[in-house]
C-alpha cells in the first residue's frame, strides 16, 4: 500500500466527494480518486460552444500544460471542465496541483463533446483547489512524488506516513498542512508518531511563523489523541496576545479542562471586550463551576455584549449558583434587554429539557 492509499483511508472516497464546497478532502484522497494527477500551469479558461448545430450550449473549458505528472497516461496538455458547487477559481497563469477524472459516457459533460478532444473533469473546489505559489511547487513535488512511488515492494510502512505528514505540516504551505491535518485526524493512532516527531509537532505549535489557526489545529489534534497533556497549551497562553489569544481562548471550547481555568479567568479580566466576552463563553461548562461570581460581575457590566456573554457562561455552567444569578437578572437587571435575553434563554433551555 502506498502512502496515498494509506492516507486515503478516510470517511469518503475522494473522487466522488470532491463536489462539496466545504469538503474535508486531503491531497492524498484527491490523488487516490484521480485518473490524472499532476502539477500544471493553467493556460486558458474559455467558454466553448458545444451546440453542434443544436440549441446554444456554452460551457467553460480550461486548458493546462502539464509540468510534473504523477498519475495517468503521460501527456503534455490537458483540457478539463470544472464540475462542483463552488468550484476552484483557476485563472490563466496559475500553478496548481490538478486531479482529473475521465468523463463517464453517461455524464452530460461527456456528451457535450463526444467528437472533441479528450476532456476531463476536475471536481476540485475552493477547499481543494491547491493553487500553488512558486515556493510551494517543490513541496508539492516531494509529497506527490511520495504518493506515486511504491516503496518496499509496494507496501508502505507507518514511519513513512508519519514522515510525510510531518513534512507537510512543517512545509510552510497552508494547503499542504491542512491536507496533512485531515489525514492525521482521520487516521488517528495509526499514524504512530515517534517521540521525536511529537516534539517537532509541539514545537510547530509554538512557532510564531506558523498561522495561529494551524498551530491550534495541530495542538487540538495532539491533545485529542492524547499525545500531549493540557500543559502543552501553557506556552501559548503565556506568550500570545491580541487576536491569537482570542483564537486560543475559543479553541478551548469542546475540550474544557480545569487546567485552562486560570488562563480563562485571566482573559475574563482583560481590557479587551472581545477577549473578555470570549472567555466568558469559553467558561460555559460545568467543569468551570466556581467562577460564577466573576461572571456575575460581567453580567452587571454596562456593556450589553459582556452581559450576554456572561449569560452564556452561566447557562453553560448550569450550577445552582449560576441559575440563581440568572433568575435574579431576569427579574431585576437594570437593562430591559438583558432581562429579555436572560428570560428567553432560560425558558428556551428549559423547553429543551
Amino acid at each position: 500500500m502506498q502512502v496515498a492509499a494509506l492516507l486515503g483511508a478516510v470517511l469518503i472516497s475522494a473522487s466522488s466527494a470532491a463536489h462539496i464546497d466545504v469538503v474535508r478532502i486531503s491531497l492524498a484522497q484527491l490523488y487516490l480518486g484521480a485518473e490524472v494527477a499532476g502539477i500544471v500551469r493553467i493556460d486558458s479558461v474559455e467558454d466553448h460552444d458545444f451546440s453542434h448545430g443544436g440549441p446554444p450550449a456554452l460551457r467553460e473549458v480550461l486548458s493546462a500544460t502539464m509540468l510534473h505528472q504523477y498519475k495517468g497516461e503521460p501527456r503534455q496538455h490537458v483540457h478539463f471542465f470544472l464540475d462542483a458547487h463552488g468550484p476552484a477559481d483557476y485563472r490563466a497563469g496559475d500553478l496548481a496541483a490538478l486531479f482529473l477524472e475521465a468523463t463517464d459516457p453517461a455524464d452530460p459533460l461527456h456528451q457535450l463533446s463526444p467528437e472533441g478532444p479528450e476532456v476531463f473533469v476536475s471536481r476540485q473546489v475552493r477547499n481543494t483547489e491547491h493553487r500553488l505559489t512558486v515556493d510551494e511547487v517543490e513541496d508539492y513535488r516531494r509529497v506527490l512524488g511520495t504518493y506515486a512511488t511504491p516503496r518496499w515492494g509496494g507496501k508502505q510502512t507507518k514511519p513513512a506516513v508519519s514522515e510525510t505528514l510531518l513534512y507537510m505540516l512543517a512545509s510552510g504551505s497552508i494547503s499542504l498542512a491542512q491536507s496533512a491535518l485531515i489525514d492525521w485526524q482521520n487516521l488517528g493512532a495509526a499514524v504512530d508518531f515517534s517521540e521525536t516527531q511529537i516534539d517537532a509537532l509541539t514545537g510547530l505549535t509554538r512557532s510564531a511563523e506558523c498561522p495561529i489557526h494551524l498551530r491550534l489545529s495541530i495542538l487540538k489534534t495532539l491533545t485529542a489523541q492524547k499525545l500531549v497533556a493540557q500543559t502543552a497549551w501553557d506556552p501559548l497562553f503565556e506568550s500570545e496576545d491580541g487576536d491569537n489569544l482570542l483564537a486560543l481562548v475559543r479553541a478551548t471550547r469542546g475540550r474544557e479542562h480545569k487546567h485552562f481555568q486560570p488562563y480563562l479567568v485571566r482573559a475574563l479580566g482583560s481590557d479587551s471586550l472581545v477577549l473578555s466576552g470570549a472567555a466568558a463563553r469559553a467558561l460555559a461548562h460545568p467543569t468551570y463551576a466556581g467562577v460564577e461570581p466573576l461572571l456575575e460581575t460581567l453580567l452587571r457590566d454596562d456593556d450589553l455584549r459582556l452581559n450576554y456573554a456572561a449569560i452564556s457562561g452561566l447557562l453553560g455552567i448550569g450550577s445552582p449558583a449560576a441559575d440563581a444569578m440568572l433568575r435574579q437578572a431576569a427579574e431585576s437587571h437594570a437593562s430591559k434587554r438583558v432581562r429579555r435575553m436572560v428570560t428567553a434563554r432560560l425558558r428556551a433551555s428549559l423547553d429543551r429539557g
Binding site: 466522488s16 458547487h85 487540538k220 472581545v274 470570549a278
Partner: protein, 549 residues
C-alpha cells in the same frame, strides 16, 4: 392522527383543532356581522352610500427592518465609509464568510444585510415572518427569539441562504475543524429579530392583502448548457429526473415567482410590505468574493421599494438539488450577457426579478379580512445518518447550543464508534435532530414552511396538496437549516453503504460503483428526512385545507 408530532396551534386532535379555529372564526365573524349591521344602520339612517357599504376589514399589518450587517473592529471603518454611519460592533475579527470554502475572510461591504419582517394580525391569529440575509439559522436560536417576543401565534424566521454573508452555522471557519461563528453575533441577530417583531407588533395598521404568481420564463438567456431560461439553473440532476423532465435533460427548476403585498387600508393605500418568493441560491458573487452583500435580493428589494415604497422582503424558495444563478446568463440589452459572478450581474438579475414581481401584481385593492390560519408541527425528529455532521457536532464546529437528541432529550454524548484504526474519529452519538415544519395561510395565500433546501419536485407536490389557496409560497430554510431534502426514492445511500469500506481505507473494494458523496448527499441528514418532513408537513397542509376562507 398526529403521527407522533405535536401541534402547537391545534390540540393533538386536529379535528378538535379545526373546530377550535372555526369557533374562533365564528366569533370573529359574529363581531364582523354586528359591525356590518351597525354600519348598515348608520348608513341607512344617513341615507348615504348604503349600497356601497363594505364589511369592515380586520386585517392589520406592519413591517419592520433591522440592519444585521456584521461589523467587527477591523471593518468598522469600511462600514462607515460605505454607509456613512458609525456602526456598533457586533462581531469579532475576522468575519468568516459562509457558503463555499473555509477561510474566506470578509474585507468590505457592498450593501447591508437585513432582518426584514412583517407582522400580520387578523381573524384567526397573528403571524410574523422575518427574513434574514444569512446562510441559515438553527432552530435553537429561533426558539430563543420566540421567547423574546409576545403576541405572536406563529413566528417564521427564514434565511435567504445567501453565500456572501457571515457564518452563522459553523462549518465555514478558518479551517474545517474550527467554527466560523461568533456567538456574540447570534445574540445580536436574536435581538434584532425580536426588536423588529416588537416594533411591528406595536405599529399595526388596517391593511389589505393581495398576491400574484408569475412564471420566470425568459429571465435568463438560455445560451449555456444548464440554463433553460427561467432565471435559475438546476445544478444537480438526480436519478431518473430525466424521466420527469426529458426536454431539459432532467434539469428541474421551480419557475414560480410568488408575490404577496400588504397595503394600508387608509385612503392613500400605501404599500406596507412586498414579499417576493423565488427558488434560487443568492450566490451570484460566488466563492472568490470577500465583499459582504445580501447578493441579488438586495437589488430585488431596492427596485421594489423604488416602485412601491414600504418594505420589500425576499424569501428564498425550494433551493435544493441545486438551484442557483451561477450557470445562467442575463443581459440588460437582451443580447450581450453580463459578466458572471459580478455585482453587475446581481444588479441586473435582481432588477429583472423585481420587474417580474411587479408584473405579477394587479392594481385591484386587496382583501381586507382574509382568514389567518397556521399549523405547526414541532418537534419533528429526524434520525441523523450523516457521519460528517456527527463529526462536526462532536468537534463543536456545528452546534452553538444545538445538540443531537435521543428519545426527545438533548444528547451531547460523544464517542468513537468506528473500528480501529479509525476509533479516534469523534462522533456525536445522539439519535438525530429535532426540527419543525408548518403551513400558514393568509386568505388566498399559503406559506409552506420547510427547514430544508427543498428539491423543487417535492415543492411541486406540496403546492399541489395545498389546494385551498391560490398563491403558494415555499419558505425554504424556515425556522431551521438542516441541509438538502430530496425525494426519498432518489436518496442515494451509496456513500453510507460504502462507509465500512471507506472507513477501512479500502474504498475501492466497496461493491457500489461510484458512490455519490456529492454536495446534495453530503449536506443531507439522511434517507428518512424526506418522508418524515413530508408526513409532518402534509398533516399541516391537511389542517390548513380544512380551514374555511
Amino acid at each position: 392522527m398526529n403521527n407522533g408530532y405535536t401541534s402547537t396551534t391545534f390540540t393533538d386532535d386536529a379535528t378538535l383543532g379545526v373546530f377550535f379555529m372555526l369557533k374562533t372564526i365564528t366569533v370573529n365573524n359574529g363581531g364582523m356581522r354586528r359591525a356590518f349591521l351597525a354600519a348598515l344602520l348608520l348608513s341607512a339612517a344617513a341615507f348615504t352610500h348604503a349600497t356601497h357599504a363594505k364589511p369592515p376589514g380586520n386585517l392589520s399589518v406592519a413591517a419592520c427592518a433591522r440592519d444585521i450587517t456584521p461589523v467587527s473592529e477591523g471593518l468598522a471603518e469600511a462600514y462607515e465609509d460605505r454607509f456613512g454611519e458609525t456602526p456598533a460592533l457586533n462581531h469579532s475579527d475576522p468575519i468568516y464568510m459562509a457558503g463555499f470554502g473555509t477561510g474566506r475572510e470578509a474585507t468590505d461591504y457592498n450593501d447591508r444585510l437585513w432582518a426584514r419582517g412583517v407582522v400580520v394580525k387578523g381573524r384567526g391569529g397573528t403571524l410574523a415572518l422575518v427574513s434574514l440575509d444569512l446562510i441559515g439559522y438553527f432552530n435553537n436560536q429561533v426558539d430563543i427569539v420566540r421567547e423574546m417576543v409576545e403576541g405572536i401565534d406563529y413566528l417564521v424566521v427564514h434565511s435567504s441562504h445567501q453565500h456572501e454573508g457571515p457564518d452563522t452555522l459553523g462549518i465555514w471557519g478558518p479551517d474545517p475543524t474550527t467554527s466560523g461563528v461568533d456567538p456574540l453575533y447570534l445574540d445580536f441577530v436574536n435581538d434584532a429579530i425580536a426588536d423588529c417583531i416588537t416594533e411591528a407588533s406595536a405599529s399595526l395598521v388596517a391593511a389589505r392583502v393581495k398576491a400574484g404568481t408569475i412564471t420566470t420564463e425568459g429571465l435568463s438567456l438560455g445560451i449555456s448548457v444548464d440554463d433553460d431560461g427561467f432565471g435559475v439553473a438546476d445544478q444537480v440532476v438526480l436519478k431518473d429526473d430525466h424521466l420527469l423532465a426529458p426536454d431539459t435533460n432532467g434539469r428541474i427548476v421551480d419557475p414560480n415567482l410568488v408575490v404577496l403585498q400588504f397595503t394600508e387600508r387608509a385612503r392613500k393605500k400605501n404599500v406596507i410590505a412586498t414579499v417576493v418568493n423565488f427558488a434560487s441560491h443568492p450566490e451570484v458573487l460566488w466563492s472568490a468574493n470577500t465583499v459582504l452583500t445580501s447578493d441579488f435580493p438586495h437589488y430585488v428589494r431596492e427596485r421594489l421599494e423604488q416602485e412601491y415604497g414600504g418594505t420589500a422582503i425576499w424569501v428564498s424558495g425550494a433551493l435544493g438539488a441545486l438551484q442557483g444563478p451561477d450557470r445562467i446568463d442575463v443581459s440588460e440589452d437582451g443580447i450581450n450577457p453580463v459578466i458572471e459572478r459580478s455585482f453587475d450581474f446581481a444588479r441586473v438579475h435582481g432588477n429583472q426579478l423585481a420587474e417580474r414581481a411587479i408584473a405579477a401584481l394587479d392594481r385591484k385593492p386587496g382583501h381586507p379580512a382574509p382568514v389567518i390560519a397556521y399549523s405547526q408541527q414541532k418537534p419533528v425528529a429526524v434520525p441523523l445518518e450523516n457521519p460528517y455532521f456527527r463529526f462536526f457536532f462532536a468537534t463543536g464546529v456545528l452546534g452553538n447550543g444545538r445538540t443531537l437528541v435521543t428519545d426527545g432529550q438533548p444528547d451531547t454524548s460523544i464517542g468513537f464508534p468506528f473500528p480501529p484504526p479509525f476509533d479516534v474519529i469523534p462522533q456525536a452519538l445522539g439519535e438525530g435532530l429535532e426540527t419543525e415544519v408548518g403551513v400558514a395561510r393568509i386568505g388566498d395565500v399559503g406559506l409552506i414552511v420547510v427547514p430544508t433546501e427543498l428539491d423543487p419536485q417535492i415543492g411541486r407536490r406540496y403546492r399541489a396538496a395545498l389546494e385551498s389557496v391560490e398563491h403558494k409560497l415555499i419558505v425554504g430554510l424556515g425556522n431551521d437549516e438542516i441541509g438538502y431534502q430530496v425525494p426519498s426514492e432518489k436518496f442515494d445511500p451509496s456513500c453510507n453503504q460504502c462507509a465500512p469500506f471507506i472507513l477501512a481505507g479500502v474504498p475501492e473494494f466497496c461493491p457500489v460503483v461510484n458512490p455519490d458523496c456529492g454536495t446534495v448527499f453530503q449536506n443531507n441528514i439522511g434517507s428518512q428526512l424526506d418522508p418524515l418532513i413530508s408526513d409532518a408537513l402534509m398533516e399541516s397542509i391537511g389542517d390548513i385545507n380544512k380551514v374555511k376562507p
